[in-house]
């Protein structure tokens, strides 16, 4: 492995890790607060990508500059959060918070099945590709390796910004503290006047926005096709499980491990590249069943 290939793998891994992290962040936030694993999270990611491609395809055809795709990404993510995340929490999840975990899992799984077909109905089975924005910020050359600014700088910056921003939001702002209080003890939070329903709705929408944003940001780097949601839910679960469910900072580390592991495998042993994330997860869980940063919860008896 020479330096060029090493750098390529490194850059691939970092930009890929940034995308996966953004999606996993939403997944782990929702789980951390609501104790629900949203299997439909992968679909929200895919729909974020589809909406971005459709919107930017439309506006770019009208003659707008490729840079205009950036605000459209944010619009797409917001749309996913409000138009899909909101109703899912409000109409479905709200009914099942007191039900067994397995049942909650089945409900979000059912939503996932529905959304997979919805994508196919709206966007068909043909792959979409809309990469003009990828070049909008130009390239950067490091030791002779040329890479897009979008993937090497923007994506990691957004991911880091979201990580720090979410931490700041949860620890320093009033709404963030309300969310943390509800996470700690829902009943106690309600007894001091916190509207837990609104906290959950808000949290779920934020999580959904993150999924949509992950898809929006991923859209120029990959072809958008059916099945990408299924891949992403399993992958982001692998990240979240490797880190420990609900561990926000840990998810960043796990995303990097998995992203780099996968991209180096692409150059070394391409057949197994898709397996690497799962192998990392299984290895970590074999040694630490609660994930890298999770701590075992002893049941009180």
């Amino acid at each position: 492995m020479n330096l060029t290939i090493f750098l390529l793998a490194l850059f691939d891994g970092i930009s890929y890790a940034a995308l996966v992290f953004i999606v996993a962040l939403g997944l782990t936030l929702i789980f951390g607060v609501m104790r629900i694993l949203n299997v439909a999270h992968g679909s929200l990611y895919a729909i974020g990508a589809y909406v971005t491609v459709s919107l930017s395809g439309y506006f770019l055809a009208l003659g707008f500059a490729p840079v205009f795709a950036f605000p459209l990404m944010i619009v797409s993510a917001a749309l996913v959060g409000v138009a899909l995340g909101g109703p899912i929490e409000w109409l479905l999840l709200r009914r099942i918070y007191d039900k067994p975990e397995v049942l909650q899992l089945l409900v979000t799984f059912a939503v996932f099945m529905i959304l997979e077909d919805v994508q196919r109905l709206v966007w068909g089975s043909q792959p979409y590709f809309e990469a003009r924005v990828l070049q909008a910020l130009g390239n950067v050359t490091v030791f002779g390796v040329t890479y897009t600014v979008y993937q090497l700088i923007l994506l990691p910056l957004v991911a880091t910004g979201l990580l720090l921003g979410l931490r700041f939001f949860l620890r320093r702002t009033v709404i963030g503290k309300l969310i943390l209080a509800t996470t700690e003890d829902r009943e106690a939070a309600q007894s001091i006047g916190i509207d837990a329903d609104r906290v959950f709705l808000f949290t779920f929408m934020v999580g959904a926005v993150l999924a949509g944003l992950g898809g929006a940001l991923a859209s120029p780097t990959t072809s958008i096709l059916p099945g990408m949601g299924a891949d992403m839910i399993v992958l982001s679960f692998a990240v979240v499980a490797t880190a420990g469910l609900g561990q926000i900072g840990g998810a960043a580390v796990a995303a990097l491990m998995i992203g780099l592991g996968r991209s180096f495998a692409v150059y070394v042993w391409p057949e197994v590249a898709v397996l690497v994330p799962y192998l990392i997860m299984v290895l970590v869980l074999l040694v630490r069943p609660e994930g890298l940063f999770g701590s075992p919860v002893a049941r009180k008896i």
Partner: protein
């Protein structure tokens, strides 16, 4: 599925009593199925596929009894099928029994290996890790196409039956009746297992693992026993499916297949043995007729229907049927009602 749902110790009638309505209906159903090749030959293939799926669904049902759901049990369905296909490829003319035994053996061994890992987890992790394992195997099947045939899969040549080479029609009849026999035998076995001390201990995973530990038992080992049984049942289903279709593809282990199994198990009545087969039969028949006009939205329909069942009819088809024939009062009150009736 509801937390208050209580499964009777045994689905079968009380000893010494008159055969219940349920037992008679079960017998009639089996006879009706056995008559399909004569009264509705065009349905034979469809019913056979449904029976194969029903056996796999039974595997998922076993886990539901412990309050666990696996989104990756198509893994064992597929492993069994591929073992059979590889066996036929390397040993042309091998016997049907060998194909079945090898396939199910493969499912049991892989169930044991995967099980050793996943029984450390419950709920979300259990469900998702199973999904991850099935995705791993699916990727292997797709990527190593020079061995596995990739997305096209590999043909499973027709095996001999007890040393005799069979024509197509005869072989199909053999597989059909073999499926019915396996349904009856394994369904009966699973019912007995549920009612037995081992099976009852297995079902306590759902309610109290602390007590289980304080009875001197390892919850992981207890869950593992049921996990291997469920993998074996999925394996039987997978082998029968492969023998019926004559070809195995990565679609056998695709997550949609796993989801389908969970769906049918919940549809039939989570935890019900008969429900697994009734659910599978209804599912297959509806799917065939619906695919003409609803092929594009099949998953959408399944998902919506799943939501409706979970939110409004958690007992599934068997729950509704029981209410209709008054077999079982509202769940959780069965024992009390029986007590009062004495």
């Amino acid at each position: 599925m509801r937390d208050t749902t209580r499964h009777p110790t045994s689905d079968s009638a009380k000893p010494g009593a008159m055969p219940s309505i349920r037992a008679i209906l079960t017998l009639l159903g089996i006879l009706l199925l056995a008559a399909v090749p004569f009264i509705a030959p065009s349905m034979q293939l469809l019913i056979n596929l449904a029976l194969a799926k029903g056996l796999a669904v039974l595997g998922v049902t076993v886990l539901l009894r412990a309050g666990q759901v696996s989104f990756g049990h198509a893994l064992f369905f597929g492993i069994s099928a591929y073992v059979g296909a590889f066996l036929m490829a390397s040993l042309p003319g091998a016997d049907l029994i060998l194909v079945l035994v090898a396939g199910v053996g493969g499912a049991v061994v892989s169930g044991l290996l995967v099980g050793l890992f996943v029984v450390r987890y419950r709920g979300i992790f259990f469900g998702m890790l199973n999904l991850a394992f099935s995705m791993i195997f699916w990727s292997i099947l797709e990527k190593f196409y020079h061995v596995t045939g990739g997305a096209d899969g590999i043909r499973l040549a027709r095996p001999s039956v007890l040393g005799m080479a069979m024509e197509r029609a005869g072989f199909e009849a053999v597989i059909f009746y073999l499926s019915i026999v396996l349904m009856v035998v394994l369904g009966w076995f699973t019912l007995r297992w549920f009612a037995s001390p081992v099976g009852q201990i297995f079902q306590t995973i759902k309610t109290n693992e602390t007590r289980l530990e304080y009875l001197g038992l390892s919850p992981r080992r207890v869950l593992l026993s049921g996990y291997v049984l469920s993998a074996a049942l999925c394996g039987v289903g997978g082998s029968l499916m492969a023998l019926t279709q004559g070809v195995v593809t990565p679609e056998y282990v695709w997550w949609v297949r796993s989801a389908e199994m969970v769906f049918i198990a919940v549809l039939g009545g989570a935890g019900s043995v008969r429900g697994a087969f009734i659910g599978a039969l209804i599912y297959e028949v509806v799917r065939i007729y619906a695919s003409a006009f609803a092929g594009d939205i099949w998953q959408l329909l399944l998902g919506s229907f799943l939501l409706v069942i979970i939110l409004f009819a958690p007992g599934g088809i068997m729950g509704i049927a029981d209410t209709l024939i008054g077999h079982r009062k509202k769940s959780g009150q069965r024992a009390a009602t029986a007590e009062e009736a004495k």
